[in-house]
């Protein structure tokens, strides 16, 4: 079982990627793995797209990254691509080993319940779209959904697990997972209607 420190170390670069995308910073991110290194350029919430960038994305989600750094981006992106498309092209077909799977399971089980912000996701086939809708639907619950519950599929359904993991990673990095706000506040009109629809579901 990996320690919390190990999990944090191995996934910190994904938090950085998320932050850079959501805050639309202009940064060049450098990643180094065991026998591999790669670079991603990001600006205005977009990703510089080319074969190297897509390979880099696949690597940083599927393999341990031993070090990473960032610096301000000197020039604008030559061929910016919306990250949802870059993620689709890189994550679909991604392999995950057992160690990586454990790391993700542990990390996502620590997250608070979330609502899922709807968006036009990516070029999903119908099976993946159904899994995305499953996550979205679970997130409509007043108490939100725990990602660990969504990822908790039977051991024999590895294909299903990977399908869900790719959706979670994409939603996470695009800022579509919103922690449930537990504060007591006066319910707005929309909140009242939503609560009523939830009760009658």
């Amino acid at each position: 079982m990996p320690s919390q420190e190990q999990i944090s170390t191995e996934l910190k670069h994904i938090s950085l990627l998320r932050k850079t995308l959501i805050e639309k910073q202009a940064l060049a991110l450098d990643f180094k793995g065991m026998d591999w290194s790669g670079k991603l350029s990001l600006a205005d919430g977009m990703i510089e797209t080319n074969d190297e960038a897509l390979a880099c994305l696949k690597y940083i989600f599927s393999q341990p990254i031993f070090s990473f750094s960032w610096q301000p981006l000197a020039s604008p992106l030559a061929s910016p691509l919306e990250p949802k498309f870059a993620f689709y092209r890189s994550l679909w077909g991604m392999e995950i080993d057992d160690h990586r799977q454990t790391i993700y399971q542990e990390a996502f089980s620590k997250l608070p319940p979330v609502h899922v912000k709807a968006g036009t996701l990516f070029r999903l086939n119908i099976e993946d779209m159904n899994q995305y809708k499953k996550l979205y639907h679970l997130g409509l619950d007043e108490k939100g959904v725990r990602i660990s519950e969504y990822l908790d599929v039977a051991d024999s359904s590895r294909a299903l697990y990977l399908r869900r993991l790719r959706i979670v990673l994409t939603c996470y990095c695009l800022g579509q997972l919103i922690p449930v706000n537990n504060q007591n506040r006066k319910m707005s009109m929309a909140a009242k209607i939503l609560a009523r629809l939830r009760r009658s579901s």
Partner: protein
Amino acid sequence: MAIAKIIVSGPFGSGKTTLIKHVSDEQFSGKDVPTTGALAHLKSMTTVGLDFGILNVDDDLDVHLFGTPGQSRFNFMWNILSKGALGGVLLVDTASDRALAEAQEMIKTWGSLENFPLVIGATKQDVPEAVTLDALTEILDSKNTPMFSVDARKREDNRMLVMALLQEILLAEQGENEMDVLDL
């Protein structure tokens, strides 16, 4: 008693009547009459006037769901109906070129309204001729509008669309600056 409005729109035959039926406690259907003219071969009966449903939330709040007639000659009603509405659901038959062209015009009209959140329900995605969600996004120029494939015959899909609209409104109210909470 406060009244909130939600608009359900979409081209002819997109499933508006069904959606309102599945979400409302009380439904008052517009008058269904035989379809005439060029659209008659597509659907035998169509709604004229309004589809209208009421969702009783509590003692203080009712939601009125207004379905706009699908035929383009009634387009003038959108601006009237949208006044004071929380937002709208746009249903689009993705297997019909005619419906796609009409939806393009509808979303332009709605896009011009301020503070009018919208979600799109893409129907008939199981039909081989249907355009993909990506293509629909391009056609409607709606990359920032939430979009779901839905089966208009399924109660759960219809309710989810309305719930999605409401959740989008709420999440926008909440703000999203809780970055650290979700750091891995």
